[in-house]
Symmetry: C2
Subunit: 193 residues, 2 copies
């Protein structure tokens, strides 16, 4: 996953004039609006997409070479790019960060992280070979047995949650699809899958 | 769902200087970069979140009062806002567009729409009562039996796909979670859930 960039909108990206903070007509939220060209600058959460790359009973993790959480371990994942699908982005990130070719499996977890305006989406994946390599955003890439996973050195709670759910499902012999939220009290009326 | 806004970045939203189109250091894609303050303006796909509101054997649909697809029928859904979860956004949109209170169920479909840079996410939902009402973005809100669904008048392919999968699952008596892509050839190595 790349570093986090959240930029305040102060100037209109279309015409360059300064924006004003107000509720546009027909809306019910404060947005950055351009009074010169009329454009409303919406900001929305961003999908982060990745895989759980499996080889036999082992899972592939990457040691981060970049901030945030430099030196911590993660599943290969990163911001989804325009023009790609969630699965396509997950395959790309797996290749970029771990040099790993995988066969993509079903959606496994979709985890909200509202305090950083992200949704983390992980797919099951089978490594096609063990010719993985260290991507530019990684210091080390290696396979772990379940008992070797460095739980105290996992970079993101979405990754540790996904790994815990994965190993739990593997132990019971049946894989589901899970929705979770990090840093949010359980929502009234929300039923977990 | 609100209208679609995709704006080209020409000026830096942080400092107002004009941006240049180039690959930033350490990246592998062309981005809009500010040579004055150094900010890189990433653009990422946006999540659209909604529900499949069920009352007995009927499903609640909204007739759109806004473009695109004014006058066509949709499930209640819209762009996820910052600070909320996917499920929280789906509940909010259901209340805003259909005046409907629901108990949110499991994730049902996650459908990529790369040509408009969106991912559409629908949750199962049970209406808590039939005191729904017409939201400002709707012309009409009503319950449909399966045989009444106006298939030729559905606003978005993600909605018709979700409804087809839902009715199919209901007929077999078991509900899954589905990933699909609209307007994309099946991806090599992608296994549908």
């Amino acid at each position: 996953m790349p570093a986090l960039f959240i930029c305040a909108v102060t100037y209109c990206s279309v015409c360059g004039h300064s924006t004003s903070t107000r509720i546009p007509p027909g809306d019910n939220r404060v947005r950055e609006c351009c009074d010169h060209c009329g454009v409303v600058h919406y900001v929305n959460p961003r999908p982060v997409v990745g895989t759980i790359p499996i080889w036999g009973v082992q899972v592939l993790l990457c040691k981060r070479a970049i901030e945030p959480r430099l030196g911590k371990w993660t599943l290969p994942a990163g911001f989804m790019e325009v023009g790609e699908t969630t699965g396509g982005g997950a395959l790309r990130e797996t290749l970029e960060e771990a040099g790993a070719r995988v066969k993509l499996g079903p959606l496994f977890s979709m985890i909200d992280v509202p305090h950083v305006q992200q949704v983390h989406i992980f797919f099951q994946a089978q490594l096609l070979d063990t010719n993985f390599s260290i991507g530019t955003e990684s210091l080390e890439v290696r396979l772990f047995d379940e008992h070797e996973v460095p739980w105290d050195e996992i970079a993101f709670r979405t990754v540790s949650t996904t790994l815990e759910l994965y190993f739990s499902d593997r132990a019971r012999g049946r894989f589901g699809t899970y929705t979770r939220a990090i840093g949010v009290a359980p929502q009234a009326g929300v039923v977990e899958a």
